[in-house]
């Protein structure tokens, strides 16, 4: 498969999947086969692109020129290829799980749900492969609009309210903050291309760099930077498949990818350099905000008794770690952030699919009701435990590596307090996830656990186990990933 | 006209502008629809007199007069129909009759 074709498939297959799933809604077997098959095709294309990026192949796809001097273009570079490969790979597990969930819960409109999941995947792929800020902005807006129906899918007042909060926060931030930042960047540089070394490097004064950084970071409300984080908890009322898309596979990762791309390819050294023409002041302020937000979110998670709400706050704490890594603006920080996105996506997808399986099989959503469930759903809760350990950052799980790199990068930048905040958040994450996993595995088995007497189907259990295995497998990839991502912070000469 | 007697022309222009302003204010602020229309006619008359004082071409004056006549005729017809439909020509009464089933909205 040529790299151009693979890129076209990676972007086009999920979009085509949207239409196909709707067109082939019945029989359910065909619908599910199309959903899983097309997701698999996307994942294979992304895997091929991962290899193309490793070999330094320059692949660029221009769809249109909607503005003078600005293309709607996609390209393959290491960061985008890695994120697309991880998210699309997890997407296959999610597709299997969604099919199982729809059958177990007798979902009323599964085709619509799958179609919007596919559309969200298409937008996420477009975010990952975006070649410039304009394309990124288009894909980002598209992702917001694609996920909005997923949040409102259930159609009750709670989900509609959550969908409104989601739409209002993300669209307002992107139009009110991200768009002005993009326009400002264009006004300064007459270009919007993502390029290693940053388009702004050497072209901005300190004041402009600081203001632009604040606009970009807060404008990317998908990254849940306080005070624009409320949408995340609000959307925890959504159905399980939507939650996996929002927290693990599309929305939060897209926010994180945006932060990484903007730090590496827009700011570059303008974020933090030896000279004074950088955004040090804003980045320090934002690191403090993210660090305090991390601790706060992990603490709030501890107080939440609804598992989905607890996981939403936990996810917020994890994604803010990415923001800290990005804002440190050192190669180590950027790598820590990228690794954190990968580890978080694997762990969060596993956790949320395990929660979905539990809801589908037992209808239990409260923390207190999880006690002993691991004894009757051992595979699901084994996966839950592995993913929890990775989220907490327990060695030797993947999350531990990213947190270690983050602490190292923080101290390397002279920000010992930032390292302290990361460690504190890890301890609080342990407090809200550790006991939950332990009580699920070690508690006394409930006698009336199953709503479904036959337990979890293979479609519900297998993706959780495979997700946990992916989390474990990341152990082996820390060093190869560091060299793979090196072009991100090393401009080509 | 201006070249013949500039002082008279300027005086006429000032009077015309005043007339126009009075007409505009009356048309804008009056609560009675008939008064609004009369205000409008004053404004148009003021504009025509002003144009004449500025020695505007005859075509402009004739066109202006024609337009003023058109406005007067349409306004007269509308006031008759408003009186028939509402039984009133007070703007407040019309607005309250229209606003009964409409929630409040921001005004310009």
């Amino acid at each position: 498969m040529s790299a151009e074709l693979a890129l076209l498939i990676a972007l086009g297959a999920p979009a085509a999947q949207t239409l196909l799933v709707l067109a082939l809604a019945r029989p359910p077997g065909l619908r599910d086969a199309v959903h899983v098959g097309m997701t698999l095709l996307t994942a294979l294309a992304c895997a091929s692109l991962l290899s193309a990026a490793a070999h330094g192949e320059a692949v660029r796809l221009v769809l249109a020129r909607p503005l003078p001097n600005v293309d709607l273009a996609f390209h393959v570079e290491p960061l985008g290829a890695l994120m697309a490969a991880v998210l699309s790979g997890l997407g296959v597990l999610h597709a299997l799980h969604t099919a199982g969930y729809a059958r177990a819960t007798h979902e009323k409109a599964p085709a619509r749900q799958m179609a919007f999941i596919a559309l969200a995947n298409a937008a996420t792929m477009a975010v990952a492969f975006s070649a410039n800020l304009f394309t990124f902005f288009v894909a980002y807006q598209g992702l917001i609009l694609a996920v909005f129906p997923l949040v409102a899918h259930r159609g009750d007042e709670d989900s509609r309210k959550a969908a409104r909060a989601f739409l209002a926060t993300l669209l307002t931030a992107s139009v009110g903050l991200l768009l002005p930042a993009m326009v400002w960047t264009y006004a300064i540089t007459s270009a919007l291309e993502f390029q290693p070394g940053g388009v702004l490097a050497g072209r901005v004064d300190a004041l402009t760099a600081n203001v632009l950084l604040v606009l970009y970071v807060l404008g990317l409300a998908m990254a849940a930077m306080p005070p624009l984080h409320r949408w995340l908890a609000a959307t925890s009322v959504a159905d399980s498949p939507a939650l996996v898309t929002i927290q693990a596979l599309a929305v939060l990762p897209a926010g994180a990818i945006g932060l990484l791309k903007i730090a590496a390819y827009v700011f570059g050294p303008a974020l933090h350099s030896e000279s004074m023409d950088d955004a040090t002041l804003a980045s320090r302020g934002l690191i403090l905000l993210a660090g305090v937000g991390m601790g706060g979110a992990a603490l709030i998670a501890l107080s939440r008794q609804d598992v989905r709400e607890r996981l939403a706050y936990s996810a917020m704490a994890q994604i803010l770690a990415v923001a800290i890594g990005v804002l440190l603006a050192l190669p180590a920080g950027l790598f820590a952030a990228a690794l954190q996105v990968v580890a978080f996506s694997c762990a969060s997808a596993t956790l949320l699919m395990a929660v979905g399986t539990t809801v589908a099989v037992t209808t239990r959503e409260r923390v207190a009701d999880y006690s002993g469930l691991g004894r009757i759903m051992p595979w699901t809760f084994a996966g839950f435990a592995v993913a929890s350990a990775s989220m907490i950052g327990l060695p030797p799980f993947a999350g531990a590596w990213s947190k270690l790199w983050l602490i190292t990068a923080s101290t390397g930048a002279g920000l010992v307090w930032a390292a302290g905040l990361v460690a504190l958040a890890a301890i609080l994450t342990f407090a809200h996830l550790g006991p939950l996993a332990v009580s699920a595995l070690a508690g006394r088995a409930p006698t009336d656990a199953f709503k479904r007497p036959d337990g979890a189907s293979i479609l519900l259990a297998a993706p959780v186990v495979l997700g946990a295995l992916a989390t474990l497998a990341l152990l082996l990839f820390a060093d190869p990933l560091a060299s793979y991502l090196a072009p991100m912070w090393t401009p080509r000469s | 006209m201006v070249s013949a007697d500039p002082i008279l022309a300027r005086l006429l222009l000032a009077m015309a502008t005043t007339l126009l302003l009075i007409g505009v204010i009356a048309a804008w602020t009056s609560t009675n629809l008939v008064k609004r229309v009369v205000g409008l006619l004053f404004a148009m008359l003021g504009a025509l007199v002003g144009a004449a004082a500025l020695a505007a071409p005859a075509a402009l004056l004739m066109l202006g007069a024609g337009v003023a006549l058109g406005y007067f005729l349409v306004a007269a017809a509308l006031i008759v129909r408003v009186q028939e439909a509402y039984g009133a020509v007070e703007a407040a009464e019309l607005d309250s009759a229209d606003g009964v089933d409409e929630p409040a909205e921001p005004k310009a």
Binding site: L67, F134, P149 | A16, A27, M44, L54, A59, L78, E105
Partner: protein
């Protein structure tokens, strides 16, 4: 034969007006509303063909001049060709959509409504093609009085109140324009629009006052804030065709005429700064006030009209820049607004018929999917989402504005987009995420093809945003044709 065809194409402005006025006369005397509708569609399509052909020949292919017509005081320039092509195409689409309502109109008033609709298009087209201020005045007044009559012919009595307010506002505008034209005559010895930029201005203050008054008079008719006090009353209770004529053709016709007038006046050193200040003030006020009003609106038609005010404000800001890039941006933005408004009004006309409340949209996405798509496309364009015409117009303003150091213009764009997110999001939410609480009124009386314009304008609002090269080239050529005096 081809010689006659060439001659006809050379005098496209006259033929455009003739087609519309002849159609209006025939519709007026037509014995049935259906015949009047067919005649109206035929006339408006003929006018659209003439004007689009002229615009394409001059602005895109650049292979033919458009001749002046002696005695009729008509003379086309780039902006008038661009504006007339857009306006007449919209006029044809509006005439087709009017079928959704005219089936329900009485057989007595149906033909009149169609005739008046054609007069509105003819009036604004005449104002666009006029070579001097007298023609602009006559055209604008014909269009305005026809709009007032359309509103007054609505079945609901509340429309009379709106029509009277329109009449008062239009009359004040006419008085201001008349005095302004006289002042301009006094200052430069001519009312020729084409003479403005090169005129020897004897009294700069007088000339600037004249141009300012004329712009204010036109802005009143275009619905620019804060002079849009008539808009809510007129749009809130008027009949469907009147709303279409006023909201789509009237407001945008006014904006095109303002842009053309400003494009001729701005190069004159004594006038440029004044024109710029007036348009900037009107544009900024329209953006802010229109956005606030649209966010607060509970009536669907008013919401659309206020959204149009905000969008037109952006076009006025573009024109206020006074540069060729600014005028080209104004044309693109006006075109984007025209497409979005057409999709919104025609989609609503087909989807909810004569219903006015926003509640009527609840669940319409399922009930009338094509109309829902049209309204969604319009809402997305009004939000300024990328890859839509709405985004393109605003981007051009920012580009031109930043180039001129007008950073606050970018702020105005953000305000418009943020407001668009709120009211556009509300429209989409109602279409797809609410269930109808009562039996909704649909465009049950719509005649066959009446729904086509909604889809055509929705496709234009999205597709031209995706591939805008032709539109941008035409807008640039239109501005150059004014600035350079020839194609």
């Amino acid at each position: 034969m081809s010689g006659y065809l060439e001659l006809a194409r050379l005098h496209a402005p006259v033929l455009t007006l003739l087609a519309l006025l002849a159609g209006a006369a025939l519709a007026f005397v037509s014995p049935s509303r259906r015949l009047a509708w067919v005649l109206g569609i035929a006339a408006s399509i003929a006018a659209a063909v003439f004007s689009v052909d002229a615009a394409l020949r001059v602005l895109v292919w650049g292979d033919a001049p458009i001749g002046a017509v002696e005695g009729l005081a008509l003379r086309a320039d780039g902006v008038s060709l661009f504006g007339a092509a857009a306006l007449n195409t919209a006029g044809a689409l509006v005439a087709i959509t009017a079928g959704a309502f005219i089936a329900e109109a009485s057989s007595r008033t149906g033909p009149y409504v169609m005739a008046l609709l054609l007069c509105v298009v003819a009036g604004w087209s005449g104002a666009l093609f006029a070579s001097d201020a007298l023609g602009v005045f006559a055209g604008a007044e014909i269009a305005w009085l026809a709009s007032v009559a359309m509103v007054a012919l609505s079945a609901e009595r509340g429309a009379l109140n709106g029509a009277l307010r329109m009449l008062i506002a239009g009359g004040v505008g006419a008085a201001l324009f008349l005095l302004g034209a006289a002042l301009l005559w006094r200052a430069i010895g001519s009312t020729d629009v084409f003479y403005l930029s090169a005129a020897l201005i004897r009294a700069p203050g007088l000339a600037a006052s004249g141009v300012g008054l004329m712009l204010a008079g036109l802005a009143l008719k275009a619905g620019a804030a804060p002079l849009n006090f008539w808009l809510g009353a007129a749009m809130g209770r008027a009949s469907g065709p009147a709303v279409l004529a006023l909201g789509v053709l009237g407001m945008l016709g006014g904006v095109f005429v303002i842009v053309r007038f400003a494009a001729h006046a701005a190069p004159a050193p004594a006038l440029g700064a004044g024109v710029s200040a007036v348009l900037a003030a009107l544009g900024a006020a329209s953006v802010v006030i229109g956005s606030v009003q649209a966010v607060g609106a509970r009536n669907l038609r008013r919401l659309a009209a206020y959204a149009c005010v905000a969008q037109c404000g952006v076009a006025l800001l573009c024109a206020a820049l006074g540069s060729p890039a600014g005028f080209a941006a104004a044309l693109v933005q006006a075109f984007a607004t025209l497409a979005a408004m057409l999709a919104l009004f025609t989609g609503a006309a087909i989807g909810v018929g004569g219903a006015r409340s926003l509640d009527a949209l609840d669940g319409m996405g399922r009930r009338a999917p094509l109309a829902g798509v049209a309204i969604t496309a319009s809402a997305i364009s009004l939000m300024g989402a990328p890859l839509t015409l709405g985004f393109l117009g605003r981007w051009r303003l920012v580009e031109a504005g930043v180039g001129a150091g007008w950073w606050w213009a970018a702020g105005a764009v953000i305000v418009t987009s943020l407001a668009g997110v709120f009211f556009g999001g509300r429209l989409i939410e109602r279409l797809y995420f609410r269930r109808a609480v009562a039996t909704q009124e649909a465009g049950a009386g719509a005649w066959g093809i009446a729904g086509a314009p909604a889809m055509i304008s929705a496709i234009a609002a999205i597709c031209l945003g995706f591939a805008p090269t032709l539109l941008l080239r035409a807008a640039d050529a239109a501005t150059a044709f004014v600035a350079g005096g020839g194609p």
